[in-house]
């Protein structure tokens, strides 16, 4: 069993999106707590933001396997 440096690169690339997605859902929870009736609208915005922020981590894993 041996490792690969490219996978460590994926780990590093996941830090940014991890923080970003955390911030997005923190804001979403805040918004719903303050204004429960806006939940439906906020949900689709939150998922859109989550999907866009996640793209960077996905680039990371794709490139990790390309270069491994």
């Amino acid at each position: 069993m041996d490792g690969n440096l490219a996978i460590v690169g994926y780990g590093l690339s996941a830090i940014g999106p991890g923080i970003g997605i955390g911030l997005i859902f923190a804001a979403y929870i805040n918004g719903v707590a303050r204004q429960p009736e806006a939940r439906g609208m906020l949900q689709s915005i939150a998922i859109l933001g989550f999907a866009l922020a996640e793209a960077l981590a996905i680039f990371g894993i794709a490139l990790a396997f390309v270069f491994s």
């Binding site: 069993m1 689709s44 998922i47 999907a51 793209a55 981590a57 996905i58 680039f59 894993i61």
Partner: protein, 262 residues
């Protein structure tokens, strides 16, 4: 310590890699009939059969089966298409979005349904083909609505200082033609691939520790199996979410091409 125990057991543990997903059944090379191809065909047959069966006897007051299908249809039609594209011209995109959603959802769910257990979208070709279709559609409707010149002009928001317009145009061109299709395909692929490889790793690892390890490793394999179970439930969530996200982004891109102003 664990590595030494594994080595002492004789065979070494082989971690799953990208090659694990290449499973040709008939033939070899580029034209082999692979396991995902069979699963994909199965999903199409399954969706068609379920939809035909559920809508055979349509009624104004829906029965149980019609109600179930209508719930999914309503989610795509009202929750995605109408809210994002807008009530004026969302209707002609509903068939495309509904097909995308059901196809991706069923294929993703096949990743954890026991006898099949292969997420088709973990091979890049499948999300790439779907993305290519969405790519052509959103450019086509944009050009048809605004004309070729108008379409490119609409990429740059109005009211910018003149010197910054070429720069923004270049960035928007990159967004429309490279970033959007690449991220759309890679997001679905990456999620299904990474999720499935983690499941394979946990289950194979637990199996290896149970069969080849010493007494301590046999005990460790129990929480590993439990973790595999928990991750399977997590995968279920990711599978729904990714089908939803892919459809939502397709609708967003179409809406962006149709919008009058930027």
């Amino acid at each position: 310590m664990s590595l030494r125990v594994l080595a002492a057991a004789g065979e070494t543990f082989e971690a799953p890699s990208a090659e694990t997903f290449w499973q040709p059944l008939i033939g070899s090379g580029a034209f082999a009939i692979t396991r995902p191809a069979i699963v994909y065909a199965l999903s199409v047959v399954l969706i068609a059969a379920v939809l035909l069966w559920a809508t055979k006897r349509l009624a104004v007051v829906p029965g149980k089966r019609q109600m179930t299908v209508e719930a999914v249809y309503g989610l795509v039609r009202n929750g995605l298409a109408r809210d994002i594209i807008g009530s004026h011209d969302f209707l002609k995109f509903v068939p495309l979005l509904f097909s995308l959603f059901t196809l991706i959802l069923v294929n993703n769910l096949f990743g954890i349904i026991p006898p099949i257990q292969y997420p088709t979208m973990s091979r890049i070709a499948f999300p790439l083909a779907l993305t290519l279709f969405v790519f052509v559609v959103y450019h086509f409707v944009g050009i048809k609505r605004k004309g070729l010149g108008g379409y490119f002009k609409s990429m740059v928001p109005a009211g910018l200082p003149t010197w910054i317009v070429p720069l923004v145009f270049l960035l928007e061109l990159l967004t429309f033609f490279v970033t959007r299709p690449v991220t759309l395909a890679l997001r679905l692929f990456g999620n299904m691939f990474a999720g499935h490889i983690i499941l394979v790793l946990f289950i194979l690892g637990a199996e290896y520790m149970l069969l080849h390890g010493g007494i301590a490793l046999k005990l460790v394999s129990i929480p590993t199996f439990l973790m595999a179970f928990v991750l399977t439930v997590f995968e279920l969530l990711v599978e729904f979410l990714q089908a939803y996200v892919f459809t939502m982004l397709a609708a967003t891109y179409i809406a962006g091409s149709l919008a009058d102003e930027h």
